[in-house]
């Protein structure tokens, strides 16, 4: 086979003959008037390979180059070369064709999307545990400041409701603060700093103290489980990734604080709701409160669903499925409970105190 040989000393092309010794895994190079060169495939580097051209090189000093412009030689060399290195597998992968390459590209794009939409949010959510609790307070304060104004608060009913909270759970009440807010929206939510907001319309819909205790235990469990913070980190994971890459922790905190006002609009997932329900039930068990109140409340809310689209149901999706599993949980973990007339009294008091 005709080839052009460069001896590594001069750039002058030398006409040569090359032949492949398949069994011996060697290449024979013959140049007129010179001793033939016999070189093992394993000592040859494929410098370039494309349809109709292969450039091989060997030796450190001088580095000699052989150029063969023949497709049958090239494909034969790539086929019989068993040296296992110098990129044989690699060139096979390269020659796999555009379909394989496009498929690989799609695979990589899929991988990137998967990382961005699932893995990174997952990591961001888990990363909440490294944020200090004091940060929850900061975010909650900011959100409270931005979403509730002084004149909206029914201060008299609020005072009574905090008394309710104190009687309901004497161990935990210090970390929380209830706010009755005058509003026609049927809603209640808790912020990461322990501020719990109940809209007056919601309070009016609540008939028994067990229902109210069920609602409060649920909201408090969102705070103890840091659900808002987890959701916030998850939904901001794209920005979080950027700020981590740029090594900018302050930027990260700023982004979270900037988005604090969105807190009350975040819609919790079923997993979070279930977690809050179950931990809420444990709180009810501790204070011997009838868990049926929680079910009653959700049933009332579900009935209201068709008329009140925005509100509690949009941030705390209630499904019949949800009521079923709460019932099931109560059945599997039965506990004793007693009536709480002092709580009922406070609830009635608060309801009469509300101006309209």
């Amino acid at each position: 086979m005709d080839a052009v040989f460069y001896n590594g000393v001069s750039a002058r092309p030398i006409d040569a003959q090359v032949s492949l010794l398949d069994e011996k895994q060697q290449l024979l190079i013959e140049v007129d008037g010179e001793t033939p060169i016999l070189i093992a495939f394993s000592d040859i580097a494929i410098t370039h390979s494309e349809n109709g051209l292969i450039v091989l090189s060997f030796g450190k000093n001088p580095n000699r180059v052989i150029e063969v412009r023949d497709e049958s030689f090239r494909s034969h060399y790539l086929k019989i070369n068993h040296s296992g290195k110098k990129g044989i597998t690699y060139f096979k992968l390269l020659n796999a064709g555009w379909k394989v390459h496009v498929l690989l590209a799609l695979l990589i794009i899929g991988f990137c999307f998967g990382t961005y939409f699932y893995f990174i949010p997952y990591i961001a959510e888990s990363a909440v545990s490294i944020l200090p609790r004091s940060f929850d307070k900061k975010v909650g304060d900011m959100a409270f400041e931005q979403s509730i104004t002084e004149e909206e608060i029914d201060s008299v009913a609020t005072l009574t409701m905090n008394e309710y909270l104190k009687k309901m759970m004497p161990d935990e009440y210090k970390n929380y603060h209830l706010n009755v807010v005058k509003s026609d929206e049927l809603n209640a939510f808790a912020l990461p700093n322990g501020e719990i907001v109940i809209y007056s319309k919601m309070l009016r819909h609540i008939k028994t103290d067990d229902e109210l205790s069920g609602l409060l235990s649920h909201e408090i469990s969102h705070v103890t489980n840091r659900h808002s913070m987890r959701l916030l980190c998850k939904s901001l994971s794209g920005y979080l990734l950027l700020s981590v890459m740029m090594n900018d922790v302050n930027g990260l905190m700023t982004i979270i604080l900037d988005n604090a006002h969105n807190l009350q609009q975040l819609s919790f997932s079923r997993t979070y709701e279930e977690e809050a329900d179950i931990s809420g039930l444990k709180l009810l068990e501790k204070y011997k409160i009838n868990p049926k109140g929680m079910i009653d409340l959700f049933e009332i809310l579900q009935k209201e669903h068709s008329v009140n689209i925005p509100g509690f149901l949009s941030t705390h999706p209630v499904t019949s499925d949800r009521i079923t599993y709460i019932k099931k949980h109560i059945k599997n973990h039965p506990f004793s409970f007693t009536p709480h007339p002092e709580l009922m009294q406070l609830l009635t008091k608060a309801k009469t105190q509300m101006s309209n």
């Binding site: 460069y6 001896n7 590594g8 000393v9 001069s10 750039a11 002058r12 092309p13 580097a45 410098t47 370039h48 390979s49 494309e50 051209l53 450039v55 090189s57 450190k60 000093n61 001088p62 580095n63 000699r64 180059v65 150029e67 990129g87 690699y90 992968l93 390269l94 796999a96 555009w98 390459h101 690989l104 590209a105 695979l107 990589i108 794009i109 991988f111």
Partner: protein
């Protein structure tokens, strides 16, 4: 192939140079390498870089022969590790000072360190890249002196700061004149003859006209810079020379960059290998080489140099390679 090398009437020859790579091929290479890099959590990166350079050099043809890139993944991997170590030490020192409540000193160490590393990285990068590049088995080489480059760099940075950027044009030309003037191609010698003043006024003109034309002149400015880089390059061998001339026009650059931009947008970045291939095809098709050097007389003269630390460092610090 010898026909093209025949002297014409004036004793000058044309030397063809072109990029023969295809976007689709380079796409395959980029994808396969990206996949391997992801699977190995980034460890394959040096090999991937070697492979891609090998392809880009191997598909560039000068005077009927391809360029060869001999750098290996193993060499680049070693350089990669060393570069990481150096940068880690620098970061470590900075954090140590910050930890010892001396943040000003820490940041100073950081900046001075980077300041010192950049010229060393450029030096190492050229030494490695040139030594691993060959044509017909004849290696390129960079014979620059590290301290000399360091001096040019320090002087350039300081004067650029003092003159609020104006000296930048002279600095850029001094670097180019020095670096390219130290590049050998076998026993042939490159020279670059850039003039800071001319380069400065060219950029002033480009800047002002770009503002006046709401950005449209940017393509012509780009053309001016490219042409200035190419037209002042020369290669000498004994008493013979070849000269480089760019035939690119502002319209050419307009077409190239607009299409590149559209490819990038509409393929969500996946089309990047096409952009590289078509840009290289464009660049080499616009370079005209004439002269009287007989490349058959080129002799091997440059040493092997296998330390890729500088090259990897440049890569990490994202210093562009300027040839």
């Amino acid at each position: 192939m010898e026909i093209i090398n025949q002297p014409n009437a004036v004793g000058k020859r044309f030397y063809p140079i072109s990029f023969k790579g295809k976007g689709s091929e380079y796409f395959g290479i980029a994808i396969v390498n990206l996949l391997l890099t992801i699977i190995t959590l980034g460890l394959y990166y040096p090999w991937s870089k070697a492979r891609q350079l090998q392809y880009l050099y191997g598909t560039t043809e000068f005077n009927d022969s391809r360029f060869e890139f001999h750098g290996t993944g193993a060499e680049m991997f070693k350089g990669f590790i060393k570069a990481i170590l150096i940068i880690t030490v620098l970061y470590g020192l900075t954090f140590l000072f910050i930890f010892m409540r001396m943040p000003i000193i820490g940041i100073l160490v950081m900046y001075l360190g980077l300041f010192a590393i950049i010229p060393l990285a450029i030096h190492g990068s050229y030494k490695y890249r040139m030594s691993r590049t060959s044509w017909r088995g004849i290696r390129f080489g960079y014979r620059g002196d590290r301290n000399e480059l360091f001096k040019i760099f320090i002087k350039g940075v300081l004067l650029t700061i003092v003159t609020i950027g104006i000296y930048g044009a002279w600095f850029s030309m001094n670097l180019r004149n020095y670096i390219l003037g130290k590049i050998k191609f076998g026993n042939a010698q490159f020279t670059y003859n850039g003039d800071g003043g001319k380069f400065f006024w060219m950029n002033v003109k480009g800047y002002l006209l770009t503002i006046v034309t709401l950005g449209i002149y940017a393509f012509w400015w780009q053309k001016d810079i490219f042409n200035y880089y190419i037209d002042n390059l020369k290669l000498s061998h004994d008493d013979k020379n070849i000269e480089f001339k760019s035939t690119a026009t502002g319209g050419d650059f307009f077409g190239l960059l607009i299409v590149n931009f559209l490819i990038l947008i509409f393929t969500l970045g996946i089309g990047y290998p096409w952009i590289v291939a078509r840009s290289l095809r464009f660049i080499f098709s616009k370079i005209q080489i004439t002269g009287d050097i007989d490349f058959n007389n080129l002799i091997q003269s440059e040493e092997n140099y296998t330390d890729a630390t500088g090259d990897d460092m440049s890569d990490m610090l994202d210093i562009g390679f300027v040839v």
